[in-house]
């Protein structure tokens, strides 16, 4: 498994807003499992841009996040950073606050000074309910095992 390929699995999101935190909840579950030493699991909360330098030296990053792509709640997605960037194209908007330094933009900036992994994959799930509260919605909870399997497929 993995043949020593160093992989960082990074959960992002806000656990105070229900399904918004599904990425963090997924890595919490992953931490309970026996994993090879080449795989490290991170909880980045809502501050992944502050944590990026820590991913120098990894061969691959797997980012777990809530993703709104219009499918039914619980739908699982996989896409690469390149796919995400090409989709966004020129419709990038602008930044008023540091919060808007979103993940692809933060990675692009960090690459000017840090050797981040070439391979960056997002595994996401369509949220059902994003509102204040520390519990996941029923639909997302039920799909957690499937989300974990999707993440583990990236290790092979």
């Amino acid at each position: 498994m993995g043949k020593g390929k160093k992989i960082a699995v990074v959960g992002v999101g806000n656990i105070l807003l229900g399904d918004e935190g599904l990425g963090v909840r997924a890595v919490e579950r992953l931490k309970e499992k026996p994993l090879p030493a080449s795989i490290q699991v991170f909880d980045a909360g809502t501050s992944i841009h502050q944590l990026l330098p820590a991913f120098e030296g990894f061969d691959k990053m797997v980012i777990i996040d809530a993703v709104k792509a219009g499918q039914e709640p619980g739908a699982i997605y996989r896409f690469t950073l390149e796919e995400l960037e090409s989709d966004k194209g020129k419709d990038i908007g602008f930044m008023l606050s540091l919060h808007e330094l979103d993940v692809p933009r933060a990675i692009a900036l960090e690459r000017l000074v840090s050797k981040l992994p070439e391979e960056i994959v997002f595994i996401g799930m369509e949220p059902e309910k994003i509102s204040e509260g520390m519990e996941l919605s029923g639909t997302v909870s039920k799909k957690m095992d499937q989300l974990l399997s999707a993440i583990e497929k990236e290790f092979g």
């Binding site: 656990i15 807003l17 501050s47 502050q50 008023l96 900036l109 204040e132």
Partner: protein
Amino acid sequence: MAQKIVIDPITRIEGHLGIEVLVDGGKVKEAKCSGTLFRGFEIFLKSRDPRDAQFITQRVCGVCPIAHAMASTLNLDSAFGVSDKIPDNGRVIRNLILGSNHLQSHILHFYHLAALDYVDVTAVADYNGNDPTLNSVKDFISRGALEPFVPRYEGDYRFDKKTNQELVRHYVMALEMRKLAHEMLAIWGGKMPCVASICPGGTTEHPTIDKITGFLWRLNKIREFIDTIYIPDVIAVAKVYSDHFQLGAGSGNFLAYGCFDLETQNPDYTKRKRYLVQGTVENFTLKSLDASKIAESIKHSWFEGPDAIHPSKEDTVPNRKKTGAYSWLKSPRYEGKVYEVGPLSRMIVSYLAGVEPVKKIVDATLSELKADVKVLNSLLGRHAARALEAKLIADAMANWVLELKPGEPVCAHYQVPDESEGMGLTEAARGAVGHWIKIKDKKIERYQLVVPTTWNASPRDEKGQPGPMEQALQNSTVKDVNNPFELVRVVRSFDPCLACAIHIVNFKGRKVSEIRIG
């Protein structure tokens, strides 16, 4: 005829700062700032173990987790009755954690958020020299990856090509500095971004010679950057864009809770000796801070309940249908007046209080700019205050870290009381942050947070007074309503943190079935 401008980049990030401005003949007639995301985190802190507050509240904001960790810990210190028992090691380590965070935040804000309004990155496309940094940016741009560098609104660029290229080099150096500041914080904070080492009573991290030297060499690199690059760059911008001293004046009232405790004998945070001091300023006259004079109006906010009461007495009852309301932010006021918070407030309060290093550097900067202290109440004043504060904090930390005593205690013992009340006051990079707690049967009965952007981006209050950012927009002019870059610059100068907490990746306009796997 008056024209309405709406700046609401809500398509990319949910829960945002929406700004609506009415412009007539190039002058802003009316401005409304609206927080579009309900953030009633206080509601589910209720009935939890008080010690959870530290871990939960730092998740509230992706930009200021450290400041919330500090404010909640000070809050718990006071509720648990140990705020005057923190050992010096614990006090100093907390200061180093908060200070590293402020450095990181200030540098990132100027270079990676604000500077691109003044620096034309495309100048690097014509670069022909040997500087590896500039060549990597050139390569980056030539691959069409302009994305991180281009603001949506066109700016007016006034530097020549060579200066622009040099400033782009600084932009990349600033990323390195941010990385160092992050490592400095991790030395004492352990796990980032959600630090576990700040705890009631002090810290869990012990000082060692290795940690002290590891901190100091990184700090010294950042100090050199601040002295030779950051401050000169801000002054260069201030000279070339000196008309921006006339843009974005706020209410003219400044409030600071102060931060960086220099002692812990005094349990009262409003009186305790702090490096950057507590106080309020009206008409450039300093008064002492009295936390009982803070009240939050909800007249124009989507909340129910008694209006204009102290945060320690407030409940959080949302009502999205309330008439006359236009924001999820409440309107914190001091003595019923509109106060701005942030680095500018801290610098003006400490300057008028006569804090020696603050007075010295502010006077030197004003004399170089041939300006009076009153011009600081402006868009450029906010950027200048941030840069000067970065130097003041970095220089002070170089002394504080040497006060650490390996082998001595870092934390005082505490017990969770059956009933108690507490207050935690400190400063996030972007301004005053306060937490209030009421404990009953060892559980949280009530918890309130008043965060910096709530002060600055607040809507009108019960007297109809616009918030500081609304006033700053109303004190601005717009040359071209189709390209209102002046307004965006005014908002940015406050370093707002409103989009706190939501950052979903929107992946739209593509056939998701092709990539769907579950």
